[in-house]
């Protein structure tokens, strides 16, 4: 089961779960992912130790997709 999570005030919230053989769940996850991007979140996939990739489309084959907020110099 793949998950779309967002880091937020609760620690993190699970926004969608899907398996590639469930098209409805996939579409719901894609819609939610796009909605979050429109709200300013940034999609990330952790690629193991020391590596992460920013994604602009939901990678349906990823186990975990993380949404973070933008960072800036303080």
């Amino acid at each position: 089961m793949s998950k779309l999570i967002r880091m937020d005030h609760t620690g993190h919230s699970t926004l969608a779960e899907w398996t590639e053989d469930n098209p409805e769940a996939c579409q719901a996850a894609i819609r939610e992912f796009r909605r979050q991007l429109d709200e300013g979140c940034i999609g990330m996939v952790s690629d193991g130790p020391g590596k992460a990739t920013q994604v602009r489309e939901l990678p349906l084959d990823a186990d975990l997709v993380i949404l973070r907020r933008p960072i800036a110099g303080g």
Binding site: G11, H12, S46, A52, T53, P70, I71
Partner: protein, 211 residues
Amino acid sequence: MAEAALPELAAVPWRGRVDARYLQRRGWLWTLQTVAFVVPFTLAGIALIALEPLALPVALASFAHGWVIPELHAFRGSNTIRPPRGPRNEKAEPVAQGFLGDLLGHDARDLQRETGLAMERGALGVWLLGEAGAVLVANGGRRVHCFCVGTAERDLPPSDRVAHLLLALRTDEAGLATVANHAFSGAPWRLRRRIRKEQRPALNAAVKAAR
């Protein structure tokens, strides 16, 4: 579609992309600045005593200036990894720390729980990530660079703030260093004296890893 550069770079289009040479130059400028404070104030103090021993109090004030100003710079650097003041979302912290722990390796996870700082190796050196800033121990372990950087979301628990920086670093290390505001550069011992006692093991580990 995957992207290699941080999208936050669009907010700072005037900044050149940071690399090892840029950091080396910034480091030299900081050293030059430190020498420019220490040497004149020290020489002035010595000259005052040589000319008029009764001017000792003024000479001591001159020595103090030469010492205090570089210390203030190091203090500014230490502030980058000091937990921010004000209310913190401690309620959600256990969940956030569990998530951050999943992203980190075993040793880095233990270190983060003890010190509040996540250690991560990059191409530029070894990073220590805090809630609102980061310290880079440059390759070789002889110089640190302190950066102010973080997310503006006030209600995030502390470990989520660290996780934001960790994910940004893993995506684009040079991009993170470009987006961040450079606050201080100097020898690790200058920073070690100014950071919190519980953070010192993280700095020691980072210096060791960077050598």
